[in-house]
Amino acid sequence: MSGERVAVVGAGMTRFVRRAQETGKELAWEAAHLALASCEMTLDDVDAVVIGTAPDAFDGVHMKHEYLSDGCGAWRRPVIRGYVGGGTGVFAAIQGWYHIASGLFDTVLVVCEEKMSSCQPHPQGAFLTIFDHTTERPLGPNLLWIFALEMNAYMTRYGLDKRDIALVSVKNKRNAAAHPAALLGDPNITVEDVLNSEVLAWPVQRLDVSPVTDGAVALVMCAGHVARRVTDKPVWVEGVGWSLDTAYWTNRDLSYPTYVEEAARMAYRMAGITEPRKQIHIVEPYDPFDYKELHHLEGLLLFDKGEAPRATADGVTQRDGDLPVCPSGGLLGVGNPIAAAGLMKVAEIFWQLRGEAGARQVPGKPRRGLAQAWGDLMQVGTVIILGV
């Protein structure tokens, strides 16, 4: 990787809740304040700010990053907002990386916030605009359709049944029981609970889906020379990648996320990773739906196509398995405040690699982890690889 070496040195987050009393900017401040405190830095140390937040329509606020900006410590600083839908949280960390790798800045505060609860009667209303206004919206689609169609394509291609996929939801909600910020942790949930939950848009049932959530997460990222001064446990950014596929989603193979593979290959190349199955020790793939974890593990080349469900059934992806997947509890368990959820995954890798994940700590001192997010019209992949 060329340019300045970049490390993550601090992280903080809010509790993830269904509806927060705090405004978006208050949530942003809570996370940003704790991220700075975690590495004993102050706003004076920050050269630039990256803000990640998903559609303005959630909040009904035009250019909501400007509304959030004071809570992000962004006033009178160089600021950028990146927005790639659900991929935003990981992309914000990538932007933090290239701000520093370029040599422009030494210290960057990355803040991702989402307050979905303001959108009434349901934030799905804000998502309806993802469908083409002329060829799709007159058919009355809702957001679940696109995931249900993709999930069915995946299940059909590999002959999977709901039970194979429900195991992911069970694993992640159980993992989240040990996360102090989690909204939906449940140590006792079973596959039967998932299979018996309300059918929304078959094959998607209530417990296959992550919840509407409010929350914020922040990271402090530094150039190497600063990182060594502020911490003896820097976590280095080893690779980044991102890719966008066609918006003609009905023209795409819905059973495989090619855009995730492209993002992963870019990140692996940068990190010098030639055998990801051996060289990646923990993974936080994006899991807004349970099948998406499986889909993404295959796109990340960590399992052969159609093989991630078997690995899940065999316990490989458990916190104490050969390849712990979503040890945080993921979006299914911790919650899904869109942009903040993606950055939560990067924060989880940071805490895990530093051995600071508490009750969630995966055994065996992992040295390299990967976080991935996904979004837009189901066709953007964002990947970051961290190592110690």
Binding site: L34, P180, V204
Partner: protein
């Protein structure tokens, strides 16, 4: 990391019922009129005439539906309209029991991606299935468009009421 999780305040339903929290509401007043454009404009004219139209890319030789004036792979101008059959194959489907705001539907909707006969492989459009028992729908099912009567067509995707099994 427990020390770096903020104890954010979780509002519950009773907080609102009992008037313990204050809030403000607003209703956006935004209306839109979208121009269909060149490619989709032609597509809609075709639908009004009961024809399913695609575009051809001269470089990759694909037949593209929904039609587009440029090929996103070759980045070149598509060169002609191609009329397709109004039949196809279900690539994937869902059986949806809820509205976007999570109310239960009395009758489920069956959205599907339908690969249109004569288009390049994998080229599907989203539409609804009808005149079919939900439990009998399967990937690979052959279907045909059910058109609204000519007098009721307006040049919209809904000029096809739905697709039904062949």
């Amino acid at each position: 990391m427990e020390g770096f999780v903020y104890p954010t305040t979780y509002l519950r339903h009773q907080d609102f019922e009992q008037g313990r929290v204050l809030y403000e509401t607003w209703y956006p007043n935004a209306h839109y009129a979208w121009d269909a454009g060149v490619a989709i404009g032609g597509y809609l004219q075709g639908l009004k005439a009961g024809r399913l139209l695609a575009r051809h890319c001269p470089e990759c030789d694909r037949i593209l539906i929904p039609p587009r004036m440029f090929c996103e792979s070759c980045f070149s101008h598509t060169d002609r309209w191609v009329e397709l059959e109004d039949t196809g194959t279900v690539i994937t489907f869902s059986i949806c029991y809820v509205t976007w705001d999570m109310l239960r539907l009395k009758e489920p909707l069956i959205p599907a991606v339908i690969g249109i006969d004569g288009a390049s492989r994998g080229m599907g459009i989203m539409h609804l299935l009808g005149e079919v028992e939900p439990q009998t729908v399967h990937v690979g099912m052959r279907v045909r468009a059910v058109w609204r009567p000519p007098a009721e067509r307006v040049g919209a995707i809904t000029d096809i009421a739905y697709f039904r099994p062949l």
